[in-house]
C-alpha cells in the first residue's frame, strides 16, 4: 500500500511536469548567472536596488491579473488605473494628509475593479470588452482630473517609493507581501480555491452551490486593488504623477502570468510561478539596458522569450 503511494507521487511524468512547471524560475536563475558573470555593472548596489524597485509595478499588476486570468477572464484596464490612482493621490496630497490621499488613490482602484466585476459577473459581459472600455474610460478620467503632470513638493510624497528596509526597497517588500498573502489566498482559502475551480469549469462550480458571480466580482476587485496600489507606489517612486503613465502595462502583467505558466483559458496558474515571470521580465529589461541594447530590440526579444516559454509549457503538458 505505502509502496504504491510513493510510486504514484514520483512517476517520471510527474517529476518532469514539476520541473518544467517551474521553467520560468529556472530561466531566472540562468539569466541571473549570465548577468553576474558577463557584466560588472549587474551586481552593483545601485543596479540591484533599481531592479528591485522597477519590478514592483509589474509585480503588483501581475498578481491581480493572475487572479482574474484564473477565473478565465482578463483585465486590460490596469494600466489606466495606475495612472488614475497616481494622479488622484498626487492631486489630493496638496489638501489632504498624505496617508489619506494614498488610501483614496488605492480605493479608486478598488472601485474601478468593482465596476469591472459587476459588469462581467452580474451582466455577463465579455471581460475583454468590459475592461477594454474601462481602459479608455479610466485613461480619459485621469486626463480629465489633470491634463498636466502633478509634482507634489512635500518631501513626504517621495518617502514610500524611496524607503529602504535594510538593503531592500520597502516597495519590494510590499510587493512580496502581496505575493505571499496572495499565494496563500489562492492555494489555501475556500474563496481562492473557488476562483481556480471557476476557471476550470464554472458550471460545475455553480451547480456545487458556490456563487460564481461573487467570486468573479472578488477577482476583479483584487485586480483593481493591486492596480491602485501600484499607481500610488509608482507616483511616489517617480515623484511626479502623469495622466499618461502606464500605457501597455497590462501587457507586461499578462506576459508575466503567461511566462509563469498561467492558462488564459483559466483554472491554471500559481502566484509563485507568476512572480518568477515578473523576475524574468525585469531581468531581461535590466540586462539589455546594461548592454545598451536599443529598446526596440528589447521589445522584440521579450516577445520571442514569451513564445519560447509557452512552447516549453505546452510540450510539458502534452507529454503527460
Amino acid at each position: 500500500m505505502t509502496l504504491t503511494k510513493v510510486d504514484e507521487r514520483t512517476t517520471p511524468a510527474a517529476r518532469i511536469q514539476l520541473t518544467i512547471a517551474h521553467a520560468a524560475i529556472a530561466l531566472v536563475v540562468l539569466v541571473l548567472a549570465i548577468a553576474a558573470v558577463t557584466t560588472d555593472a549587474f551586481l552593483t548596489q545601485t543596479n540591484l536596488t533599481n531592479l528591485l524597485k522597477q519590478m514592483v509595478t509589474t509585480g503588483l499588476l501581475a498578481y491581480g491579473m493572475l487572479v482574474v486570468i484564473l477565473t478565465g477572464g482578463i483585465d486590460l484596464s490596469v494600466g489606466s488605473v495606475v495612472a488614475f490612482a497616481g494622479i488622484l493621490t498626487a492631486g489630493l496630497s496638496s489638501g489632504l494628509p498624505l496617508p489619506v490621499a494614498m488610501l483614496v488613490g488605492i480605493a479608486s482602484g478598488i472601485l474601478f475593479g468593482l465596476i469591472n466585476g459587476v459588469l462581467v459577473a452580474r451582466f455577463d459581459l465579455a471581460p475583454f470588452v468590459v475592461t477594454l472600455a474601462a481602459l479608455t474610460t479610466i485613461r480619459g478620467l485621469a486626463f480629465v482630473y489633470s491634463d498636466v503632470p502633478i509634482a507634489p513638493e512635500e518631501e513626504s510624497f517621495f518617502w514610500l517609493g524611496s524607503a529602504m528596509l535594510g538593503p531592500i526597497p520597502l516597495t519590494t517588500v510590499i510587493m512580496l507581501a502581496v505575493f505571499v498573502a496572495g499565494g496563500v489566498f489562492l492555494s489555501r482559502t475556500p474563496a481562492g480555491r473557488s476562483i481556480v475551480a471557476i476557471g476550470g469549469n464554472a458550471e460545475t462550480v455553480r451547480l456545487a452551490g458556490i456563487s460564481v458571480r461573487k467570486h468573479v466580482l472578488l477577482a476583479y476587485t483584487i485586480s483593481g486593488f493591486c492596480a491602485g496600489l501600484a499607481g500610488v507606489i509608482l507616483a511616489s517612486r517617480v515623484g511626479i504623477a502623469q495622466p499618461s503613465v502606464g500605457v501597455a502595462f497590462e501587457l507586461d502583467a499578462i506576459a508575466a502570468c503567461v511566462i509563469g505558466g498561467a492558462s488564459l483559458a483559466g483554472g491554471k496558474g500559481s502566484a509563485l510561478a507568476t512572480l518568477g515571470g515578473v523576475l524574468v521580465l525585469a531581468l531581461i529589461n535590466n540586462l539589455l539596458n546594461l548592454y545598451n541594447v536599443q529598446s526596440f530590440w528589447q521589445q522584440v526579444l521579450k516577445g520571442l522569450i514569451i513564445i519560447a516559454v509557452i512552447l516549453v509549457h505546452r510540450a510539458s503538458r502534452r507529454r503527460t
Binding site: R188, V196, E203, G209, G267
Partner: protein
C-alpha cells in the same frame, strides 16, 4: 473480397487500452448490428471507423485495401459515412443548405436556389423522408426530424459504408418506420450498414449479423435466427438482469420532494410529481422531452415560470442551486464533462467542492479534514485507483469519474438526490455499483429521482416510473411488472 474488414484493432488512451483487438467483417448488402452496454467500446470503434480517432494498432481494410482513416475526410474518401447521436446541423441554415453544403448547383457562378431546393427535395423523397420540408431552417425541426436530416446528409455522397450510431434513439412512429425502410433499401442497393442500437428488438429485426461487445472486445458474433433478446442481454452484461439491479423492497415515508403545476416556458408544463422518503422514482423520456430541463429547474439552476416546489412538505423557492442544496437537494448532471467535474483539479478537490466553505479552520481550508472526508468516500465508493485523491480527475476512467461526482454529493448528505443519466458512458461494474448505492441511500431514507433514457435501467433500478413526453407527464407505472414497451408507448404518445 469483403467490403469492410477490421483486424485486431486496438485503441489506447494515455497508455490505457480501451479496445482490445476487435475483428469485424462485413460485406455489401449486409447490416451489422453492434450491441453492448455503456462503456463496452462501441463509441471508440465508431470513432475509428469515422476517422475521428486513430487506432493504436491493427488494420482496417476497405475492399481489401488497407486504409487507416486519419481524419473524417479520409474516411469519406473511402466511402465511409458516420451519423452520430449528437446533432451537428447548422441550426440557422435551411435543410437544403445543410444537405448540399459545399456542392450547391450554380448558375452564372451564383447559387441556384430553385435547383438546390429541388435537389434536396428529390434526395429526401428518394430515401423516403417525405415529411421534411427542405426550405425549413434545421433548428426549427423537431429533434427526430433533425436526426433524419443528418442521415440524409450522410447519404448525399452515396457512401459504400454507412455507420449509424443509435439512429432510432429519438425516433418514433412513422419516422421510425421510415428509418427501417431506408436501412432495408440501402441493403438492397449493396450498401453496408453498421447499426448501433440499445434497442435489441430493432437489431434482431434489421441485422444480418449481430456483434456483441463488452469491455472493449467482441465477445460474440451471431445472427438473428440463432439468438434472442435474453441471450443478448446476458452476453452484454456478463450476468443476468436479476444480478444487475438490486431487489427493491421499498418502504416509503412522507413526501420528500413534490411539485405542483411546475412549468417553465416551452420546456415542460404542469408537472405534478411526488417523491417520498426512501423511494426511487424513475423519469423516462426521449431526447427533447424536457427531462434535463426539469432536473435543472428542480435544482434551482433555472427558474420556473409557474407552479410550486415543496421539500419535506414545505414550499420552497430556489433562486440559485445554493438554495436547493440548503434545502437538502443534490444533482448529478447528465453532462459529466460540462457540469460535473473540474477537469484540471485533483479528485480530492473535485469531491470537496460541495463542502469547500464548510471545511475550514481559521479561514483556511482544513486540508487534513478535507483529506479524511474524501478518502472515506474514495473507500466507500471504491473509486480506483485507490490513491487517486491527488490525481487530476480527468485521468480516471469515466466510471470512476462518475463515482467521484457522486461522492461530492454524498458528502453533503442530501435528502433528495436527482441523478440525470448517471450511468451514461460508464462500465458495467460501475453501473452495478451505482444501482447498489442508490438502493442503499433509499433504504437510509433518501428520496431519489433517477432520470434515464435507458429503458431497462429506468424499470430495473426504481420503484415507480414517470414518463415525460413533450414536456408533460404522459404516464406513470409501477416498475414491478411493467414492460419496456409500456414505457416506450407512453413516451411516444401511443399508450392504450
Amino acid at each position: 473480397m469483403k467490403l469492410l474488414q477490421l483486424k485486431d484493432v486496438r485503441k489506447a488512451y494515455a497508455g490505457v487500452e480501451v479496445l482490445h483487438g476487435v475483428d469485424l467483417t462485413g460485406d455489401r448488402g449486409e447490416v451489422i448490428g453492434i450491441v453492448g452496454a455503456n462503456g463496452a467500446g462501441k463509441s471508440t470503434l465508431i470513432k475509428i471507423l469515422a476517422g475521428a480517432e486513430t487506432m493504436t494498432a491493427g488494420e482496417l481494410l476497405v475492399d481489401g485495401e488497407s486504409t487507416t482513416p486519419g481524419s473524417p475526410h479520409d474516411a469519406h474518401r473511402h466511402g465511409i459515412r458516420t451519423v452520430y447521436q449528437e446533432l451537428t446541423l447548422a441550426p440557422e441554415l435551411t435543410v437544403t443548405e445543410n444537405l448540399l453544403l459545399g456542392r450547391f448547383p450554380r448558375r452564372r457562378r451564383l447559387i441556384d436556389w430553385r435547383a438546390a431546393h429541388h435537389q434536396a427535395r428529390d434526395l429526401l423523397d428518394d430515401i423516403g423522408f417525405t415529411s421534411i420540408d427542405p426550405r425549413q431552417k434545421a433548428g426549427r425541426l423537431s429533434v427526430a426530424k433533425q436526426q433524419m436530416v443528418e442521415i440524409a446528409k450522410a447519404l448525399v455522397s452515396k457512401p459504400r459504408i454507412l455507420v449509424l450510431d443509435e439512429p432510432s434513439a429519438v425516433l418514433a412512429g412513422s419516422d421510425l418506420a421510415a428509418l427501417f425502410a431506408l436501412v432495408r433499401r440501402l441493403q438492397q442497393q449493396d450498401t453496408l450498414v453498421v447499426y448501433i442500437s440499445h434497442r435489441l428488438v430493432e437489431v434482431l429485426d434489421l441485422a444480418t449479423q449481430i456483434v456483441v461487445m463488452k469491455d472493449g472486445a467482441v465477445i460474440a458474433t451471431t445472427t438473428p435466427d440463432r439468438t434472442d433478446e435474453d441471450e443478448l442481454i446476458r452476453l452484454m452484461a456478463g450476468r443476468r438482469l436479476e444480478q444487475i439491479y438490486p431487489d427493491r423492497r421499498a418502504t416509503h415515508g412522507p413526501p420528500a420532494l413534490s411539485t405542483e403545476n411546475l412549468s417553465r416556458g416551452n420546456e415542460f408544463r404542469d408537472i405534478d410529481l411526488t417523491i417520498h422518503k426512501g423511494e426511487v422514482v424513475g423519469l423516462f423520456g426521449l431526447v427533447g422531452s424536457g427531462r434535463t430541463e426539469l432536473a435543472h429547474c428542480l435544482f434551482g439552476a433555472t427558474h420556473p415560470t409557474g407552479g410550486r416546489i415543496a421539500v419535506g412538505g414545505r414550499p420552497h423557492t430556489f433562486r440559485t442551486p445554493q438554495d436547493a442544496i440548503a434545502a437538502g437537494l443534490a444533482l448529478v448532471t447528465e453532462d459529466r464533462k460540462g457540469s460535473g467535474i473540474v477537469p484540471d483539479l485533483t479528485v480530492r478537490e473535485n469531491v470537496a467542492l460541495t463542502t469547500l466553505y464548510a471545511t475550514t479552520r481559521g479561514g483556511l481550508v482544513d486540508g487534513r479534514a478535507q483529506r479524511r472526508a474524501v478518502e472515506t468516500m474514495v473507500d466507500r465508493l471504491d473509486i480506483r485507483p485507490a490513491h487517486c485523491a491527488t490525481m487530476p480527475i480527468v485521468r480516471l476512467s469515466g466510471g470512476n469519474q462518475q463515482k467521484a461526482v457522486l461522492a461530492k454529493w454524498l458528502l453533503k448528505q442530501p435528502r433528495v438526490l436527482i441523478l440525470d443519466e448517471p450511468t451514461r458512458g460508464v462500465d458495467m461494474a460501475t453501473r452495478v455499483a451505482i444501482y447498489r448505492m442508490v438502493d442503499e441511500l433509499a433504504r437510509a431514507g433518501v428520496a431519489v429521482l433517477l432520470i434515464s433514457s435507458d429503458l431497462t435501467e429506468v424499470l430495473g433500478a426504481t420503484d415507480r416510473v414517470l414518463v415525460l413526453r413533450e414536456g408533460r407527464i404522459a404516464g406513470e407505472l409501477r416498475s414491478e411488472g411493467a414492460t419496456e414497451d409500456q414505457v416506450l408507448a407512453y413516451s411516444i404518445g401511443r399508450a392504450a
